[in-house]
Symmetry: C2
Subunit: 363 residues, 2 copies
Amino acid sequence: MITSPTLILDTEKVKKNIKRMMTKANELNVELRPHFKTHQSHEIGRWFRDSGVQGITVSSIKMAEYFCYDGWSSITIAFPVNILEANRLDDLAEKIDIRVLATHFEVLRRLNDSISNEIGVYIELDPGYNRSGIPIDEFETLLQLKSFILDSDKLRFEGFYTHAGHSYKCRSKKEIEELVHPILEDLAKLKNEFNDPICFGDTPSCSVLDDFGSISQISPGNFVFYDWTQFNIGSCNIEDIGVAMFCPVVAKYPRRNELLIHGGAVHFSKDSFTDESGNTLFGVVTNKEESGWGKVIDGVSLKSISQEHGIIQCTPFYFNEVHIGDIIPILPIHSCLMADLMGGYVTPNNENIDHLSLKIYLK
Amino acid sequence: MITSPTLILDTEKVKKNIKRMMTKANELNVELRPHFKTHQSHEIGRWFRDSGVQGITVSSIKMAEYFCYDGWSSITIAFPVNILEANRLDDLAEKIDIRVLATHFEVLRRLNDSISNEIGVYIELDPGYNRSGIPIDEFETLLQLKSFILDSDKLRFEGFYTHAGHSYKCRSKKEIEELVHPILEDLAKLKNEFNDPICFGDTPSCSVLDDFGSISQISPGNFVFYDWTQFNIGSCNIEDIGVAMFCPVVAKYPRRNELLIHGGAVHFSKDSFTDESGNTLFGVVTNKEESGWGKVIDGVSLKSISQEHGIIQCTPFYFNEVHIGDIIPILPIHSCLMADLMGGYVTPNNENIDHLSLKIYLK
């Protein structure tokens, strides 16, 4: 019985999301190296393995260690290599195929001097997102970095890695395509010049593209769960969203048609979504059903949160329907951060699913 | 040696913050029942105990259980009672003095029928924050709730509880006073009518007020650490901020004068601060010093974060000073959420301090 905020995972939906992306990767002849930062779970990782996935992507060395422990033998840490962690990387590289991203000579030189086991290196490209990586058109820098890697006997050149995170600003399939097509053209020129593997990965692009051009690997992550933001970007249908937070209604305030739930920033994260009318949402309320959750309820949303409190703005009809002690399912704005905060999942059949943060019994 | 994002706690500053609030409470003759949701730590809790604190405040039953385990014998769960947790509450009430907030008859009736041990009840008042509680001027409702509690042989009336969370919107001591004084006047009228204890608590009010009027208990939480938001509200000096995240510099991007650090939403939280020029900040960069951190560096801030990545906007001077592999201390926008995410603290002397979420070895 649910009595406090609980992150429910719909096994069928999640497995369907995995299968859909895997089928697409197979059909379009690219290797799916899914990003596991979204779920951070051994068990969910095994569902990917059952679908045929062999290599994965993570965003920290701790995550790499966690998945190495569960038998994954090829892991990309999709972050410019942190030279302070060279020893930990070297330890991992002794056991499995570890790959990192590189953007600086100096770091590659220091990495090369610090390790005794072979480490794979992708050069990270910045496709205009301005987060990290070398601009795609800086061929000379890319060439110099590549030469250095090729000359090293401890670094193994894996090709190029790029993440078009600015696709999260899109609001339709068309907008995603308009953003990504020029990037794909740039990558085609790069492929032409270097003829090396290119890994590309963000959930919006990977969800909507029907042709990956010169790309040979993809590494989306969020698609395993999707969320309200991805639905609004145009990456998925509402029915594809695979996780929801179930929260108890603790108080009702008739003067303002609002409910107080137990469910706040330590459960949902402070990530928010601004809708067309300019309203800020921290979650979207759905109907509760026997087997999980159902349709989104128009006009009802999580409008504000503090550390443990959440305020649900209601329609008068919904306000009257809901009672104190009810449990209401709320779709996440950003499923990755919600999962990281909750540190575990529960299925509608009340089975626990692990998460790196291991907080399932603590909240 | 720090190699990944690490939450450093300055023991001296934190102990000074505790002592300052305790001294004030003693001088103004109110009981300090500090809110422990900010630190969620047994060890930091003991520093409060050493200062003479006897009763505490938390925001979930899990937190109450955590602090009961460390010997606290009087705990307020500052949340309208969640009737679904009545059994867990009853178990706690068998061991210690547990107090909850109430806003609804129906819930009190069900609570009364579900427990066998005595539970203390504060009626929660809404001072205009519109989060939870009964408006202060609804005397009739308050009277009816109070009568019900007095008539019950399992519920013990503790008085009134109120949290003026809208003080977080203030931007000076004067603005805090202008917001809080009318609330204090309303509470004085209530005191006149009911003559029951009133507990009041938010860090801005408790930090700046020199007179608590008819209030007999205060329960601020954030003051133990403070943060960049509290400094801007007018609650503290920059030097009072007791925690900072130490993050490694992983890459430098000269074209845009920006650094990439390991340090993102899973470390800082997505809470942000908008400065006077309309810039969004996720953290504020300071100088690193032998014993911890020093002065804030003008024009250098954490301007954007994703799950694990953080982008530091630099001045040209700072950009040239900083090197890949350096560790930079960053003051939090919201220390409570940062501590919850990090699940542990490290002192400059490399001692670990516990947190309910116990993630210190995991990130």
